[in-house]
């Protein structure tokens, strides 16, 4: 294996070879190699956030017809570095009555939960942290740790706004986990494995976004909800919640949440690129592994670009709209999709791959069209039966009926 074709794999192999030459037992070599890999990957990912923040601010600036950061360095590229240095110097404030342990654990857990996601994502043919046979489930389960960190932050701050923000955020995350998992089952069915690397390898002939566009759409929407970006950014609705769960945090502890949010947005794009856009697959990626990494980054940045476009252009959902979209549209659609894909997959088992994919595609489009028609129907029924002011009045009456608890 030469350096130019696969620099990462080359370095890893040289490093493990050097460790083995030191005369340590094989178990220790394995443990040390994995620990180093985790350290390098986590540090690299955290440093990468510096670039992501600049990229996003610049892009949002362009969308809003501004320049974005343009003072520090060429094209303002060192602005996040300056911000980072500033945040290091800020004072840590611990509110009175805060639950110290929960309050301090929360930011660390938030970043750790995102970094854990990187451990099962294959970066190229040769570079993957761990190829778990339940990788995709692991990705979802780690999200649970993130939820725990938000609860800890909201609770530990001893602040009603923080608690309300955490409540709202966790309710949103748990709700959108349902369609997320259900739509992720479709690629699992198509690939016949839960391993993330297996799913990537199964997309050699055709990407799963072609075979299952409906699942990809649901997964994408649910992912955006999971990272709490606009239009799902109710968690930081300033007019209602001040700033959400992280209101009492300052300095680097706030910075940790900030890093976690940006890194999560990028990681979620990477998961989408891995599961639906073929990961490192591409022409020549199997022979020249470094190309696979380039392909993966390109695909990830395309998805990330779309999430930023969403953030820059869409207004915020109301909480009932958000819940309606999840429970009345995405969840039933993904349930129907799983059944339809299973039936079509069983019927077309003998056909060649091309016709199988066509059948999957048709079923997906049919379901998407049917959902669209149903939504239109219910919308027109609503506008026909209700006066313009009625929806608002309904909200008011239900909220007073349930008392102050709502």
């Amino acid at each position: 294996m030469d350096f130019l074709r696969d620099p990462f794999g080359f370095v890893i192999q040289e490093y493990t070879g050097w460790l083995g030459g030191l005369g340590l037992p094989a178990v220790w070599v394995d443990i040390i190699a994995k620990l180093t890999g985790a350290l390098v990957l986590a540090t690299g990912a955290m440093l990468f956030v510096v670039f992501l923040i600049w990229y996003e601010r610049k892009l949002i600036g362009r969308i809003q017809d501004r320049f974005g950061p343009n003072r520090v360095g060429p094209w303002g590229i060192f602005q996040p570095v300056a911000d980072m240095l500033k945040i290091f110097t800020k004072e840590y404030i611990t509110p009175i009555g805060a639950d110290k342990f929960a309050y301090n654990l929360a930011p660390i857990l938030a970043v750790a939960a995102v970094l854990l996601l990187w451990s099962v994502l294959p970066l190229s043919v040769t570079v993957v942290g761990t190829d778990l046979n339940v990788g995709l489930l692991f990705l979802v389960a780690v999200g649970g740790l993130g939820e725990m960190s938000y609860i800890l932050a909201g609770w530990g701050s001893n602040n009603k706004y923080a608690l309300l923000g955490a409540f709202r955020l966790v309710a949103q995350l748990i709700s959108y986990e349902v369609p997320l998992v259900l739509s992720a089952l479709v690629p699992v069915m198509l690939a016949g494995t839960l391993s993330v690397n297996g799913i990537v390898q199964a997309q050699e002939s055709v990407w799963f976004i072609v075979a299952a566009p409906a699942a990809a759409l649901i997964f994408f929407i649910a992912s955006i909800a999971e990272i709490g970006r606009s239009p799902f950014d109710l968690i930081e609705a300033e007019s209602e919640l001040v700033a959400g769960y992280n209101i009492e945090y300052s300095g680097l502890k706030f910075g940790m949440f900030f890093v976690a949010e940006f890194l999560h947005a990028f990681t979620v794009s990477m998961i989408f690129a891995t599961v639906f856009l073929g990961g490192w697959q591409g022409p020549g990626a199997a022979e020249i592994p470094v190309l696979g990494f380039v392909y993966l980054m390109l695909k990830t940045f395309v998805v990330y670009f779309v999430t930023i476009l969403f953030r820059g252009t869409l207004p915020r959902f109301r909480i009932d709209q958000m819940m309606n979209l999840n429970w009345k549209v995405l969840t039933p659609l993904s349930l129907a999709l799983i059944m339809a894909m299973a039936i079509v997959g069983g019927l077309t088992r003998e056909l060649p791959v091309f016709w199988q994919v066509i059948a999957f595609l048709l079923v997906n489009l049919l379901l998407l069209g049917a959902t669209d028609q149903l939504m239109r129907l219910s919308q027109s029924r609503k506008t026909k039966s209700n006066l313009p002011m009625q929806p608002l009045r309904k909200v008011l009456t239900t909220s007073t009926k349930h008392g102050a608890g709502e």
């Binding site: 979802v140 389960a141 780690v142 649970g144 725990m148 009456t397």
Partner: protein, 174 residues
Amino acid sequence: MNGLQVVFLLAALVSLFSAAMVVSARRMMHAALWLVLTLMGVAVIFVTLQSSFFAVVQVLVYVGAIAILIIFSVMLTRRVMEDHGDQILPGWRAAGLVAGLLFAIIVGFLALWQGFTTMLVELPADADNLLDLGQALVSPQGYALPFELASVLLVAALIGAITIAVDRKEDQHG
């Protein structure tokens, strides 16, 4: 003692200690957080048994959903969050006796069970117990019937929850 045993002992100690903390913590919120640690410890024990699926499901279902549900309900009953009263039950001797007896009975039955003394067999690296589990859940010779029964039970629970929570149409217009 090999590495696996060290990990197992650590995980067992952590889960036992945090389980004890769950019942002795003064603040309900802390009890809920200790419960999370207990559940994580159980997940680690699943990992030492090479049962990655159960480990991940343990985290996904128990930490990601059930523990968060418990924390929600704890937070929504904030008035009684802190317990200032005596934490020891008046009839703790009788309760301790019953608990000890039950524990002895369970341990006795486990000791009689022949699986208790079976040595662990290391799975080959390419063994996919996930496939076996999936097939056992849907095959008529395996656990298809209990699996379906559990699904019916869960659907009934879901429908019950919706029936309780739903806003009736006539109420809305009234």
